[in-house]
Amino acid sequence: MSVLPYLIAGWLFLIGCYGLATSRNLIHAVGCLAVCQSSTYVLLLAIGYRDGGTAPVFSDIAPGSRPVVDPVVQALTLTDIVIGATVTALLLSLVIQVAKRHRTVDPDELSELRG
């Protein structure tokens, strides 16, 4: 099944979306967003994989002696993880303020406007 890793990425994304849409707690929703984002890590790393490949680091292997996996998507995944962590921090600080101002973290109860 050579498409299985790609399908797992799609499944992670959809299950994260399901969690986001049915969430009754904003902290849980932020966690679901992180699950959605992790699907992109799986997809990127799956695209970059090469059969029998090792890490693209040549401090302990001679260049050309072994196949290496694609370093470009690994660098993209690193970027992705950093952005994911900072966005999570920003969203959680928003949740803290929502909880303080509205005394609830249930998105369904946050329908009214308050100054």
Partner: protein, 252 residues
């Protein structure tokens, strides 16, 4: 919208995405395939520039401008969190209480602290040689400082963590990255070109500007994470919400 209707809309959208995604998957290059044109070229370029860790070479040399954008997002979200989690007018600040810590926890956390700090600095310094770099090492360094919170208490952490200083260092890390990029302009090359001599392959000084940019990112990430966690911990430990909201609610 009722929750039942919402689920139906979600199911329709999810099903559509799933069908399109599965169809797209069968058109993707096969998993584990041998054809990686960008990867091969990136490896070639990294070796030509004497950088053993290809991922670092991609991040801090070949795609250094993209990393500047990524770093700016990190910087922006730290600033955003600082603004969102500031102490508001109706909130008071309680001095944290001294806490008692179980002796084994204290002992092992205090042993782990210098080791973790050293590992973090090692990971930052060896970013061009082995897996790691400024982003990863910076997080490890920031974690090391917070072992003091586990080992002693919040007051001890506050003593080694003047948040203002870390905020300045965070900005300095961002500025250092820009300055290294601008220095390339002075030599007549494009912004963020790797203008330094590439050095001997597989030594600490190899990679040209890669170690410098790694260090700048390391400073920024370590200080950024410390500032972020300081804001969250302040909310949990020190800041007490005022009772203006309660009065407002009682009045309505």
């Amino acid at each position: 919208m009722s929750s039942r209707l919402r689920l139906w809309v979600l199911a329709a959208g999810g099903l559509g995405v799933a069908v399109l995604f599965v169809l797209a998957c069968f058109d993707l290059p096969a998993f584990g395939g041998l054809r990686h044109p960008y990867g091969d070229r990136a490896v070639h370029a990294a070796l030509a520039r004497h950088t053993a860790n290809t991922v670092s070479s991609v991040n801090f040399d070949q795609r250094a401008f993209d990393t500047l954008g990524e770093e700016s997002i990190l910087f922006g979200s730290v600033v955003g969190t600082v603004v969102l989690l500031r102490q508001t007018r109706d909130e008071g600040r309680l001095p944290p209480e001294p806490a008692t810590v179980a002796p084994p926890v204290r002992r092992y956390a205090l042993i782990a602290l210098p080791v973790t700090l050293l590992i973090g600095l090692y990971v930052i310094a060896h970013g061009q040689l082995s897996p790691g770099g400024g982003f990863q090492g910076g997080v490890v360094v920031a974690t090391a400082l917070h072992l003091l919170y586990i080992a002693v208490d919040y007051r001890a952490l506050e003593r080694i963590r003047p948040v203002g200083l870390y905020e300045v260092a965070d900005a300095a890390g961002e500025a250092a990255y820009l300055l290294v990029g601008t220095a390339a302009l002075v030599t007549g090359a494009a912004f963020l070109t790797n203008f330094l001599p590439y050095g001997t392959f597989n030594t600490l000084s190899s990679g040209g500007t890669v170690p410098l940019l790694n260090a700048a990112i390391g400073v920024e990430v370590a200080c950024g994470v410390v500032v972020l966690l300081a804001r969250f911990l302040d909310q949990a430990v020190e800041i007490e919400s005022g009772d203006r909201d309660d009065e407002a609610e009682a009045g309505t």
